[in-house]
Protein backbone atom coordinates (compact mmCIF):
# COMPACT_ATOMS: atom_id res chain seq x y z
CA UNK A 1 0.00 0.00 0.00
CA UNK A 2 0.97 3.60 -0.48
CA UNK A 3 2.24 5.05 2.77
CA UNK A 4 -0.07 8.05 2.91
CA UNK A 5 -3.25 9.39 1.43
CA UNK A 6 -1.29 12.18 -0.19
CA UNK A 7 1.02 9.71 -1.94
CA UNK A 8 -1.95 7.64 -3.06
CA UNK A 9 -3.48 10.76 -4.58
CA UNK A 10 -0.19 11.56 -6.29
CA UNK A 11 0.10 8.05 -7.71
CA UNK A 12 -3.44 8.27 -9.11
CA UNK A 13 -2.72 11.66 -10.63
CA UNK A 14 0.40 10.33 -12.33
CA UNK A 15 -1.40 7.25 -13.66
CA UNK A 16 -4.26 9.43 -14.93
CA UNK A 17 -1.62 11.53 -16.71
CA UNK A 18 -2.88 14.59 -14.90
CA UNK A 19 0.07 15.26 -12.60
CA UNK A 20 2.19 18.37 -13.04
CA UNK A 21 5.93 18.06 -13.59
CA UNK A 22 6.39 19.19 -10.00
CA UNK A 23 4.06 16.47 -8.67
CA UNK A 24 5.78 13.84 -10.78
CA UNK A 25 9.13 14.89 -9.37
CA UNK A 26 7.74 14.80 -5.85
CA UNK A 27 6.46 11.25 -6.26
CA UNK A 28 9.69 10.14 -7.88
CA UNK A 29 11.76 11.51 -5.01
CA UNK A 30 9.47 9.95 -2.45
CA UNK A 31 9.47 6.54 -4.14
CA UNK A 32 13.24 6.54 -4.20
CA UNK A 33 13.16 6.27 -0.41
CA UNK A 34 9.81 4.56 0.22
CA UNK A 35 9.69 0.89 -0.68
CA UNK A 36 5.93 0.60 -0.06
CA UNK A 37 4.97 3.36 -2.42
CA UNK A 38 7.41 2.14 -5.05
CA UNK A 39 5.94 -1.36 -4.92
CA UNK A 40 2.38 -0.05 -4.97
CA UNK A 41 3.09 2.14 -7.97
CA UNK A 42 4.90 -0.61 -9.87
CA UNK A 43 2.08 -3.07 -9.28
CA UNK A 44 -0.47 -0.57 -10.59
CA UNK A 45 1.61 0.12 -13.67
CA UNK A 46 2.00 -3.59 -14.23
CA UNK A 47 -1.76 -4.18 -13.96
CA UNK A 48 -2.41 -1.43 -16.49
CA UNK A 49 0.15 -2.87 -18.86
CA UNK A 50 -1.40 -6.31 -18.53
CA UNK A 51 -4.81 -4.85 -19.37
CA UNK A 52 -3.47 -2.95 -22.33
CA UNK A 53 -1.72 -6.08 -23.55
CA UNK A 54 -4.95 -8.04 -23.69
CA UNK A 55 -5.74 -9.34 -27.11
CA UNK A 56 -8.77 -7.97 -28.90
CA UNK A 57 -10.27 -11.06 -30.46
CA UNK A 58 -12.14 -10.64 -33.71
CA UNK A 59 -15.78 -11.51 -33.88
CA UNK A 60 -16.65 -14.56 -35.98
CA UNK A 61 -16.66 -14.24 -39.78
CA UNK A 62 -20.38 -14.69 -40.23
CA UNK A 63 -21.25 -11.97 -37.73
CA UNK A 64 -22.22 -9.25 -40.22
CA UNK A 65 -24.32 -11.65 -42.25
CA UNK A 66 -26.16 -12.88 -39.19
CA UNK A 67 -26.87 -9.32 -38.04
CA UNK A 68 -28.22 -8.41 -41.47
CA UNK A 69 -30.40 -11.50 -41.48
CA UNK A 70 -32.26 -10.34 -38.37
CA UNK A 71 -32.71 -6.62 -39.05
CA UNK A 72 -36.16 -5.75 -40.32
CA UNK A 73 -36.39 -4.29 -43.82
CA UNK A 74 -37.89 -0.83 -43.76
CA UNK A 75 -41.12 -0.52 -45.70
CA UNK A 76 -41.69 2.32 -48.08
CA UNK A 77 -43.55 5.27 -46.65
CA UNK A 78 -42.07 4.73 -43.25
CA UNK A 79 -39.79 7.69 -43.71
CA UNK A 80 -42.70 10.09 -43.13
CA UNK A 81 -43.98 8.02 -40.25
CA UNK A 82 -40.55 8.07 -38.67
CA UNK A 83 -40.45 11.83 -38.97
CA UNK A 84 -43.91 12.30 -37.46
CA UNK A 85 -43.31 10.09 -34.45
CA UNK A 86 -40.76 12.26 -32.64
CA UNK A 87 -42.55 15.52 -33.61
CA UNK A 88 -46.18 15.16 -32.50
CA UNK A 89 -46.82 18.90 -31.98
CA UNK A 90 -45.36 19.91 -35.33
CA UNK A 91 -47.35 17.15 -36.99
CA UNK A 92 -50.59 18.39 -35.45
CA UNK A 93 -49.78 21.97 -36.46
CA UNK A 94 -48.93 20.92 -40.02
CA UNK A 95 -52.16 18.96 -40.39
CA UNK A 96 -54.14 21.90 -39.02
CA UNK A 97 -52.52 24.38 -41.41
CA UNK A 98 -53.03 22.11 -44.40
CA UNK A 99 -56.72 21.73 -43.56
CA UNK A 100 -57.15 25.46 -43.01
CA UNK A 101 -55.47 26.43 -46.26
CA UNK A 102 -57.30 23.84 -48.28
CA UNK A 103 -60.69 24.92 -46.87
CA UNK A 104 -59.93 28.57 -47.57
CA UNK A 105 -58.70 27.67 -51.00
CA UNK A 106 -61.78 25.67 -51.86
CA UNK A 107 -63.93 28.60 -50.72
CA UNK A 108 -61.89 30.88 -52.94
CA UNK A 109 -62.13 28.58 -55.91
CA UNK A 110 -65.72 27.49 -55.82
CA UNK A 111 -67.70 30.46 -54.56
CA UNK A 112 -70.26 31.24 -57.23
CA UNK A 113 -71.22 34.72 -58.42
CA UNK A 114 -72.50 36.64 -55.48
CA UNK A 115 -73.39 40.25 -54.78
CA UNK A 116 -74.13 41.46 -51.29
CA UNK A 117 -75.18 44.83 -50.00
CA UNK A 118 -74.25 45.66 -46.45
CA UNK A 119 -76.81 48.26 -45.65
CA UNK A 120 -79.79 49.42 -47.72
CA UNK A 121 -80.32 49.46 -51.45
CA UNK A 122 -81.65 47.51 -54.39
CA UNK A 123 -79.62 45.78 -57.05
CA UNK A 124 -80.45 44.62 -60.53
CA UNK A 125 -78.89 41.56 -62.15
CA UNK A 126 -77.92 40.76 -65.71
CA UNK A 127 -76.24 37.39 -65.97
CA UNK A 128 -73.01 37.58 -63.99
CA UNK A 129 -73.24 41.31 -63.78
CA UNK A 130 -74.73 43.19 -60.89
CA UNK A 131 -76.09 46.60 -61.70
CA UNK A 132 -76.67 49.50 -59.37
CA UNK A 133 -79.53 51.23 -61.18
CA UNK A 134 -79.18 54.83 -62.24
CA UNK A 135 -81.25 56.51 -59.60
CA UNK A 136 -80.46 54.08 -56.83
CA UNK A 137 -78.32 55.05 -53.85
CA UNK A 138 -76.78 52.19 -51.92
CA UNK A 139 -76.56 53.17 -48.29
CA UNK A 140 -73.70 50.91 -47.31
CA UNK A 141 -71.04 48.64 -48.87
CA UNK A 142 -71.32 46.57 -52.01
CA UNK A 143 -69.43 43.29 -52.19
CA UNK A 144 -69.24 41.35 -55.47
CA UNK A 145 -67.65 37.92 -55.84
CA UNK A 146 -66.77 36.22 -59.13
CA UNK A 147 -68.75 38.58 -61.35
CA UNK A 148 -68.94 42.11 -62.72
CA UNK A 149 -70.25 45.26 -61.19
CA UNK A 150 -71.85 48.03 -63.20
CA UNK A 151 -72.37 51.06 -61.06
CA UNK A 152 -74.73 53.57 -62.64
CA UNK A 153 -76.18 54.89 -59.42
CA UNK A 154 -74.33 55.76 -56.25
CA UNK A 155 -72.68 53.76 -53.46
CA UNK A 156 -72.22 55.63 -50.19
CA UNK A 157 -69.91 53.00 -48.68
CA UNK A 158 -67.05 50.90 -50.12
CA UNK A 159 -67.11 48.68 -53.17
CA UNK A 160 -65.23 45.40 -52.77
CA UNK A 161 -64.58 43.46 -55.94
CA UNK A 162 -63.39 39.89 -55.32
CA UNK A 163 -62.24 38.29 -58.58
CA UNK A 164 -64.59 40.78 -60.16
CA UNK A 165 -64.44 43.70 -62.55
CA UNK A 166 -66.10 46.99 -62.41
CA UNK A 167 -67.52 48.02 -65.77
CA UNK A 168 -68.26 51.54 -64.84
CA UNK A 169 -67.08 52.89 -61.60
CA UNK A 170 -65.81 56.37 -61.81
CA UNK A 171 -64.86 57.68 -58.41
CA UNK A 172 -67.82 60.02 -58.43
CA UNK A 173 -70.19 57.14 -58.08
CA UNK A 174 -68.59 55.69 -55.03
CA UNK A 175 -68.15 57.63 -51.82
CA UNK A 176 -65.96 55.05 -50.08
CA UNK A 177 -63.02 53.25 -51.61
CA UNK A 178 -62.96 50.65 -54.34
CA UNK A 179 -61.11 47.57 -53.23
CA UNK A 180 -60.08 45.01 -55.80
CA UNK A 181 -59.06 41.58 -54.60
CA UNK A 182 -57.76 39.28 -57.29
CA UNK A 183 -55.13 37.28 -55.47
CA UNK A 184 -55.75 34.43 -53.11
CA UNK A 185 -53.55 35.87 -50.41
CA UNK A 186 -55.30 39.25 -50.60
CA UNK A 187 -58.61 37.55 -50.24
CA UNK A 188 -57.33 35.52 -47.32
CA UNK A 189 -56.16 38.72 -45.66
CA UNK A 190 -59.48 40.43 -46.32
CA UNK A 191 -61.37 37.46 -44.92
CA UNK A 192 -59.21 37.31 -41.79
CA UNK A 193 -59.68 41.04 -41.22
CA UNK A 194 -63.40 40.51 -41.48
CA UNK A 195 -63.20 37.57 -39.10
CA UNK A 196 -61.33 39.50 -36.45
CA UNK A 197 -63.60 42.51 -36.84
CA UNK A 198 -66.59 40.29 -36.25
CA UNK A 199 -65.02 38.64 -33.25
CA UNK A 200 -63.56 41.65 -31.48
CA UNK A 201 -65.76 44.55 -32.58
CA UNK A 202 -69.06 42.79 -32.62
CA UNK A 203 -70.88 45.72 -30.94
CA UNK A 204 -69.97 48.13 -33.69
CA UNK A 205 -71.73 46.14 -36.36
CA UNK A 206 -75.14 47.41 -37.34
CA UNK A 207 -78.19 45.32 -36.65
Amino acid sequence: MACSLEMKRLIDAVLDEEATAEEQQKLKTHMHDCRHCRQHYNQLVQSINLLKGLEQPNVSEHFTASVLSVVPIREKGQTLKRWFKPHPVLTAAAVFIILMISSFFSLWQFTPFQAVVKGKGRLAYQGNTVIVPKDEVIDGDLIVKNGNAKIEGKVKGDVVLIQSHSLLASAGHVNGKIEKINKFMEWLWYDMKGFFTRVFLIKRLPG
Partner: protein
Protein backbone atom coordinates in the same frame (compact mmCIF):
# COMPACT_ATOMS: atom_id res chain seq x y z
CA UNK B 1 -13.87 9.41 -40.67
CA UNK B 2 -16.44 11.42 -38.70
CA UNK B 3 -18.05 12.82 -41.85
CA UNK B 4 -18.06 9.38 -43.43
CA UNK B 5 -19.93 7.99 -40.40
CA UNK B 6 -22.39 10.89 -40.54
CA UNK B 7 -23.06 10.18 -44.21
CA UNK B 8 -23.63 6.49 -43.48
CA UNK B 9 -26.03 7.28 -40.62
CA UNK B 10 -28.04 9.57 -42.88
CA UNK B 11 -28.35 6.73 -45.39
CA UNK B 12 -29.39 4.26 -42.70
CA UNK B 13 -32.10 6.69 -41.57
CA UNK B 14 -33.42 6.54 -45.11
CA UNK B 15 -33.46 2.75 -44.91
CA UNK B 16 -30.22 1.93 -46.74
CA UNK B 17 -29.13 -1.57 -45.71
CA UNK B 18 -25.77 -1.41 -47.45
CA UNK B 19 -24.81 1.61 -45.32
CA UNK B 20 -25.81 -0.33 -42.22
CA UNK B 21 -23.64 -3.25 -43.30
CA UNK B 22 -20.70 -0.88 -43.58
CA UNK B 23 -21.32 0.45 -40.05
CA UNK B 24 -21.50 -3.11 -38.70
CA UNK B 25 -18.17 -3.96 -40.32
CA UNK B 26 -16.57 -0.80 -38.94
CA UNK B 27 -17.64 -1.34 -35.33
CA UNK B 28 -18.28 -5.06 -34.90
CA UNK B 29 -14.94 -5.91 -33.29
CA UNK B 30 -15.03 -3.03 -30.80
CA UNK B 31 -18.63 -3.78 -29.84
CA UNK B 32 -17.88 -7.48 -29.56
CA UNK B 33 -14.84 -6.85 -27.38
CA UNK B 34 -16.77 -4.61 -25.00
CA UNK B 35 -19.44 -7.29 -24.62
CA UNK B 36 -16.86 -10.07 -24.38
CA UNK B 37 -14.92 -8.45 -21.55
CA UNK B 38 -18.13 -7.43 -19.81
CA UNK B 39 -19.81 -10.84 -19.78
CA UNK B 40 -16.77 -13.04 -20.13
CA UNK B 41 -18.26 -15.59 -22.50
CA UNK B 42 -17.54 -15.49 -26.24
CA UNK B 43 -20.84 -16.91 -27.39
CA UNK B 44 -22.98 -14.67 -25.17
CA UNK B 45 -20.86 -11.70 -26.16
CA UNK B 46 -21.59 -12.35 -29.82
CA UNK B 47 -25.33 -12.52 -29.13
CA UNK B 48 -25.12 -9.26 -27.21
CA UNK B 49 -23.12 -7.60 -29.99
CA UNK B 50 -25.74 -8.71 -32.49
CA UNK B 51 -28.50 -7.33 -30.25
CA UNK B 52 -26.55 -4.06 -29.99
CA UNK B 53 -26.53 -3.58 -33.76
CA UNK B 54 -30.14 -4.62 -34.07
CA UNK B 55 -31.16 -2.00 -31.49
CA UNK B 56 -28.98 0.62 -33.12
CA UNK B 57 -30.70 -0.06 -36.44
CA UNK B 58 -34.26 0.01 -35.15
CA UNK B 59 -33.63 3.07 -32.95
CA UNK B 60 -31.44 4.96 -35.39
CA UNK B 61 -33.92 7.86 -35.40
CA UNK B 62 -33.26 8.43 -31.72
CA UNK B 63 -29.60 9.03 -32.50
CA UNK B 64 -29.04 12.80 -32.75
CA UNK B 65 -26.50 13.59 -35.43
CA UNK B 66 -24.69 16.13 -33.23
CA UNK B 67 -23.56 13.29 -30.93
CA UNK B 68 -20.72 10.84 -31.51
CA UNK B 69 -22.02 7.62 -33.02
CA UNK B 70 -19.49 5.31 -31.36
CA UNK B 71 -20.42 6.71 -27.92
CA UNK B 72 -24.08 5.99 -28.61
CA UNK B 73 -23.31 2.51 -29.90
CA UNK B 74 -21.02 1.62 -26.97
CA UNK B 75 -23.69 2.82 -24.58
CA UNK B 76 -26.14 0.34 -26.04
CA UNK B 77 -23.52 -2.41 -25.80
CA UNK B 78 -22.60 -1.70 -22.15
CA UNK B 79 -26.23 -1.35 -21.11
CA UNK B 80 -27.15 -4.65 -22.74
CA UNK B 81 -24.16 -6.34 -21.10
CA UNK B 82 -25.01 -4.95 -17.66
CA UNK B 83 -28.64 -6.04 -18.12
CA UNK B 84 -27.42 -9.50 -19.09
CA UNK B 85 -25.22 -9.73 -15.99
CA UNK B 86 -28.14 -8.65 -13.82
CA UNK B 87 -30.47 -11.31 -15.22
CA UNK B 88 -27.91 -14.08 -15.34
CA UNK B 89 -28.02 -16.59 -12.55
CA UNK B 90 -24.80 -16.63 -10.54
CA UNK B 91 -24.34 -20.35 -11.23
CA UNK B 92 -23.28 -19.65 -14.81
CA UNK B 93 -20.27 -17.65 -13.69
CA UNK B 94 -17.06 -19.08 -15.04
CA UNK B 95 -15.68 -19.65 -11.59
CA UNK B 96 -18.81 -21.33 -10.29
CA UNK B 97 -18.31 -24.71 -8.73
CA UNK B 98 -19.77 -27.56 -10.66
CA UNK B 99 -21.37 -30.06 -8.25
CA UNK B 100 -19.24 -33.14 -7.70
CA UNK B 101 -16.09 -31.57 -9.09
CA UNK B 102 -14.80 -29.66 -6.09
CA UNK B 103 -11.83 -27.55 -6.96
CA UNK B 104 -12.58 -27.56 -10.65
CA UNK B 105 -14.28 -24.64 -12.35
CA UNK B 106 -15.99 -23.98 -15.65
CA UNK B 107 -13.03 -21.81 -16.39
CA UNK B 108 -10.92 -24.89 -17.05
CA UNK B 109 -13.39 -26.03 -19.67
CA UNK B 110 -12.82 -23.07 -21.93
CA UNK B 111 -11.22 -24.67 -24.95
CA UNK B 112 -7.80 -23.46 -25.99
CA UNK B 113 -5.91 -23.94 -29.22
CA UNK B 114 -4.03 -27.22 -29.32
CA UNK B 115 -0.27 -27.77 -29.49
CA UNK B 116 1.01 -24.27 -29.01
CA UNK B 117 4.68 -23.44 -28.59
CA UNK B 118 5.51 -23.03 -24.94
CA UNK B 119 5.74 -19.22 -24.83
CA UNK B 120 2.50 -18.99 -26.75
CA UNK B 121 0.96 -21.32 -24.22
CA UNK B 122 2.16 -19.14 -21.36
CA UNK B 123 0.88 -16.04 -23.10
CA UNK B 124 -2.44 -17.76 -23.61
CA UNK B 125 -2.65 -18.65 -19.92
CA UNK B 126 -1.75 -15.10 -18.98
CA UNK B 127 -4.51 -13.74 -21.19
CA UNK B 128 -6.99 -16.11 -19.60
CA UNK B 129 -6.02 -15.14 -16.09
CA UNK B 130 -6.33 -11.40 -16.77
CA UNK B 131 -9.65 -11.99 -18.48
CA UNK B 132 -10.76 -14.02 -15.49
CA UNK B 133 -9.69 -11.34 -13.03
CA UNK B 134 -11.54 -8.63 -14.94
CA UNK B 135 -14.62 -10.79 -14.67
CA UNK B 136 -14.24 -10.99 -10.91
CA UNK B 137 -14.77 -7.24 -10.64
CA UNK B 138 -18.28 -5.92 -9.97
CA UNK B 139 -19.88 -4.78 -13.27
CA UNK B 140 -19.59 -1.07 -12.42
CA UNK B 141 -15.80 -1.37 -12.11
CA UNK B 142 -15.57 -3.80 -15.01
CA UNK B 143 -17.22 -1.35 -17.39
CA UNK B 144 -14.81 1.51 -16.66
CA UNK B 145 -11.78 -0.80 -16.91
CA UNK B 146 -12.97 -2.20 -20.25
CA UNK B 147 -13.70 1.23 -21.70
CA UNK B 148 -10.60 2.93 -20.36
CA UNK B 149 -7.85 0.36 -20.74
CA UNK B 150 -9.14 -2.03 -23.38
CA UNK B 151 -10.94 0.45 -25.62
CA UNK B 152 -8.59 3.30 -24.71
CA UNK B 153 -11.38 5.87 -24.34
CA UNK B 154 -11.12 9.19 -22.52
CA UNK B 155 -12.85 9.86 -19.19
CA UNK B 156 -15.20 12.24 -20.99
CA UNK B 157 -16.23 9.60 -23.53
CA UNK B 158 -16.70 7.04 -20.77
CA UNK B 159 -18.84 9.45 -18.78
CA UNK B 160 -21.03 9.95 -21.87
CA UNK B 161 -21.29 6.21 -22.52
CA UNK B 162 -22.16 5.34 -18.92
CA UNK B 163 -24.20 8.51 -18.37
CA UNK B 164 -22.24 9.27 -15.21
CA UNK B 165 -20.39 12.41 -14.10
CA UNK B 166 -16.70 12.45 -15.00
CA UNK B 167 -15.71 12.60 -11.33
CA UNK B 168 -17.64 9.37 -10.64
CA UNK B 169 -15.94 7.67 -13.58
CA UNK B 170 -12.56 8.79 -12.30
CA UNK B 171 -13.22 7.44 -8.82
CA UNK B 172 -14.34 4.13 -10.30
CA UNK B 173 -11.23 3.91 -12.45
CA UNK B 174 -9.08 4.42 -9.35
CA UNK B 175 -10.97 1.81 -7.34
CA UNK B 176 -11.05 -0.71 -10.18
CA UNK B 177 -7.33 -0.21 -10.77
CA UNK B 178 -6.65 -0.81 -7.11
CA UNK B 179 -8.84 -3.95 -7.03
CA UNK B 180 -7.03 -5.35 -10.07
CA UNK B 181 -3.64 -4.51 -8.60
CA UNK B 182 -4.44 -6.66 -5.60
CA UNK B 183 -5.53 -9.52 -7.83
CA UNK B 184 -2.68 -9.31 -10.31
CA UNK B 185 0.21 -8.35 -8.03
CA UNK B 186 1.67 -11.85 -7.89
CA UNK B 187 1.79 -12.14 -11.62
Amino acid sequence: MESKIKRLIKKIKKGDQAAFEEIVNLYKNQVYNICYRMVGLPHEAEDLAQETFLRAYTHIDQFKSDKTFSTWLYRIATNLSIDYLRKKRPSTYLDADIPGTEGFTMYMHVPSDERLPEDRLIENEKQKIIHYEINQLPPKYRSVIVLKYLQDLSLKEISNILNLPETTVKTRVHRAREALRKRLRHF
